[in-house]
Structures are given as C-alpha cells and as structure tokens.
C-alpha cells in the first residue's frame, strides 16, 4: 500500500537496466503515466496506457519510470530489472 518508502527502496535495489509493463487488467486510463513519462507510455483510443515497444527504459529515463509507477492510482505499473 505505502508506495512512498517502498519505491525509494526498490529504486536502490534495481540500479541496472529497467523494464516497465502496464497491467491491462488494472489500468483504468487515469493517464498519469503518460503525463509524467510520455517517452515511456502511449495511450490507446480509449485512453488506456501501454508501455512503448517492449517496455525497455532507455538510459536516463529511469527516474521517470519510477515516478510513473509511484503516481499510478491503480498500481498498474510494474518496473523490473532486465
């Protein structure tokens, strides 16, 4: 539940190359990720979010990936280390 400290912890535990994934069962189209990290997410015609490409996070955009995850009201975004 508590996203705040958990996210900081996860960030420290995953210093390597990141991958993101939007869980389509959970996404409700709040579009927070698209607004915070337009380089990483696209919206479909219904406004639901999808990771761009295979979800690989280009170097330098790691903070945006974590920020998108931490602002998703549906807890629909996974960030994993590749």
């Amino acid at each position: 539940m508590r996203a705040i400290s958990a996210t900081t912890e996860e960030r420290l535990l995953m210093p390597g190359k990141l991958k993101i994934r939007v869980d389509q069962e959970k996404c409700q189209g709040h579009a927070r990720c698209k607004s915070l990290a337009p380089e990483l997410f696209n919206l479909d015609e219904f406004g639901n979010a999808h990771e761009i490409g295979d979800g690989s996070v280009p170097k330098g955009l790691e903070d945006k990936a974590w920020l998108a995850k931490a602002n998703c009201p549906e807890f629909a975004i996974d960030v994993t280390e590749q």
Partner: protein
C-alpha cells in the same frame, strides 16, 4: 429472498429532520453544516476511530475513512452496486439511470467504452484553445472592478461552456444547466419532487436536440452518441443517449466548478503558494494534482448488495456507502503531510477521480479545464486575496466546492 431496500419508503416529507450531529462516529451526516464548512477534522476523527463507520441516517449508511477502505470498495463490484450513486433521504426505485456511472458489470464496460474516445488527452488538446478563450471572456467582464465573486463570475461558467461546446449546444444555455444541477445534486438530497422535475426538464431539453440531429446530423458529442453502436451493432436507445447526456452534464459541471473554485480559494488565502506558482509555472502539473488531492470535490456512493468485510469491518446489505474519495485523499497513512498542500508533491496516487472501473470519464477534461482556468487567472490576476468583507460559502452534499468566493485584486489586492 427479500430485498431489504424495498422496505424503505420511496418518498418522504420534503424536508425530513436532520438533527445536529452530536456523535460523528456513530451518527455522521454529510449534510450537517459543520461538514459542509470544514469536513477535514471530522474525517480525521472518524479515521482515528475506525476504517469504516456507520450512521442510521439515510436509512443506514457506511463511510470508509481510509484510502485502503475506499480502494477496496471501489474495486469490489461484487458486493457493492453503483445503481445509486448519491446518498439521499429516500431510495426510490432506480429510475433515471445514467450509464455508465450507474452501471455495474457486465453492462458497465460497453457503456463506458462509448464515452472514452471523445475524452482522451489528445481530444482535450483540441478543446483547449476554446476553454482558454472562455476564461479570458469571463475575466474581461469583471477585471476592471478590482473585485468579484469568482464562484459566480468565473469558475461556474468554465465547465458549463466547455461541455456545451463539446455537446454542440448553445453555450448560453449554461444557466439552465446550472439550475438543474443545483436541483438534482443539492436540493434533491432532501426533496425528491424537485429532483424529478429537474430530471424531466433536462430530458425534454435534450430530446429536442436529439430530434434535431435526426434531421440534420452535426459534428458534436450528441451526434457521436447517437451514431454509436452497441456490441450487437444496434444504435443506442434514446433513453441511453439521454442518460449519458444527463451524466455528462451532472458529472461534468459542478465538479470542475468546485475544483477550480477550491484551487483559487487556496491560492487566495496562501500567498506563498500563489507567488510560487506565478514564479514557477512549470509546477502546474504537480500543483493541479495536489489541489485535486487536497480539495477533491466528489464523493460518490455505492449500495451494499451482499454481506462482506472491509478493512476488518463487517458491512451489511440494505445500507448505502458514502464513498468519500476526499477523505481517502487526506489519509496520512497514504500521503505524508496529508493535511498540507505541497505544490511539488512527487508521489501522489490521489483518488479524486475515483478508483477502479468507474474512474471519471471526464478526468482529462477536468484536468485541462483546471490547468487552463488557473493559468489564465494567474496570468491576468497574479495578485488576489479573499475579501474580508465577504463570506465564502461551500456547497452541501455530494460535490464540495465554493459557491460564493469573494476576491479582491488589482487596486484592492
């Protein structure tokens, strides 16, 4: 199996008694003047007592007080129905549905998907220049006075005109919409006759516009709805179209009116935040989210259909649930410094637009209107404050925002 709801009268005296609340934890009432004026300490008291509290008022109603409890209920469409989305003194048979907000699965998804494409962020970008123009037209009318009631002269008119523009109906009919919304959302909590009359007047108005478009199709949201097809390829019934139009109007107007008004109220009484936002316009996106969190206008409702347990508390059918996204957004277990407005709050999973399948279909519209309305106000009127000679008045009930907001600016600031 008997339906516990049937035992409840479907009509009641026009103004049933709402005695003053002495025990918030066991007898809360969201129409009490103290709740209307300043609900935050009440929510803190209730949250400290229990994640779910109950009142016998409104024929029995629960209030989840934590983010977690609100989230659990929002995601649980098995035990909680959306067929009634306002907690009222009466529970008449469910007529006048407004899909998809009053729909449960499986009817919900197809009804909602029809409405989603016109409200994507990209669609809103196309509407933005008109909204910016509306804001400036309104400011032009009062800026020379050096004072105004911003609720009556500014915040009220922006969402009405924007939605009228989208629907393809005259922006000048906005006053009519404002009257209906006041009758349905505020007076309607306690007076069923006023509510029914407003619903009928609104149906008559939109039926006329639907008939016109049957003769001459237009490029607007009403025509989009009329052209929509359900999963069997059939057009929507006039009743479905009317219900969705009613929803767009009711849900899209005083909600955003309230959100813009509460934002200006906060900035008027918090000079440091106002100065910071003027100096750092790049803060607008996080500032808008934070103002949405701190002053979320919308409280929804659910009806308990089956017995269950929420955050350890038993919940029984026959009761309503006051689904307070505003209270969830003030939960310190979810938001550090929940009672403070932090314009650059980095992590903000606020629930102002709801959670789960009923996420507000107009959230992208609301965000755009709020952003533009605050930006244009700050650009033209960077220095303003509450008028000490006036009084701020907040709306009662389901949607909370300033209905009177006297401000001083220019030479009087």
């Amino acid at each position: 199996m008997s339906d516990p709801v049937r035992a409840i009268p479907d009509s009641a005296p026009a103004m049933p008694d709402h005695p003053p609340v002495n025990d918030w934890i066991h007898d809360f009432d969201h129409t009490d003047p103290r709740w209307t004026e300043n609900p935050f300490p009440i929510w803190d008291e209730l949250r400290a007592a229990s994640p779910v509290v109950h009142t016998d008022r409104f024929h029995g109603c629960y209030l989840p007080t934590t983010y977690e409890a609100v989230r659990e209920i929002s995601h649980d469409t098995e035990h909680f129905s959306s067929r009634r989305v306002i907690v009222r003194d009466v529970r008449p048979e469910t007529t006048g549905v407004a899909p998809p907000i009053t729909s449960d699965p499986p009817a919900h998804k197809p009804a909602k998907q029809l409405l989603l494409p016109p409200f994507t962020p990209d669609a809103m970008k196309k509407l933005e220049p008109r909204v910016r123009a509306i804001c400036n037209e309104l400011i032009d009318e009062f800026i020379a006075d050096d004072k105004c009631d911003a609720a009556a002269r500014y915040t009220k008119h922006i969402p009405v005109r924007a939605i009228a523009h989208m629907l393809g109906i005259p922006e000048k009919d906005g006053d009519l919409f404002i009257k209906w919304i006041h009758e349905i959302l505020e007076l309607g909590i306690k007076d069923d006759a006023i509510m029914m009359r407003a619903v009928q007047e609104m149906a008559g108005y939109f039926s006329g516009h639907i008939e016109q478009r049957k003769k001459h199709a237009t490029d607007d949201l009403i025509t989009t709805l009329m052209n929509a097809r359900d999963k069997n390829g059939e057009p929507l019934s006039d009743g479905h179209v009317l219900g969705s139009l009613r929803l767009l109007l009711i849900a899209g107007i005083d909600t955003t009116w309230s959100a813009i008004g509460a934002s200006l109220w906060h900035l008027a009484k918090t000079p440091a935040d106002r100065a910071r936002l003027v100096a750092e316009p790049a803060l607008m996106p996080t500032a808008v989210e934070e103002l949405l969190r701190a002053y979320s206008p919308v409280t929804m409702a659910r009806e308990v259909m089956k017995e269950t347990v929420i955050s350890g508390c038993p919940v029984k059918p026959g009761n309503m649930v006051l689904l307070s996204f505003p209270a969830a957004n003030r939960d310190p277990a979810m938001f550090p410094d929940a009672d403070k407005v932090v314009l650059d709050r980095k992590e903000n999973r606020h629930a102002a637009f709801g959670l789960g399948i009923h996420r507000c279909v107009g959230s992208n519209l609301a965000r755009m209107e709020m952003t533009v309305a605050i930006e244009e106000w700050l650009r033209r009127i960077p220095d303003f404050r509450l008028d000490p000679a006036g009084q701020v008045k907040w709306s009662e009930g389901t949607v909370r925002g300033p209905r009177q907001l006297p401000l001083l600016f220019g030479k009087t600031a």
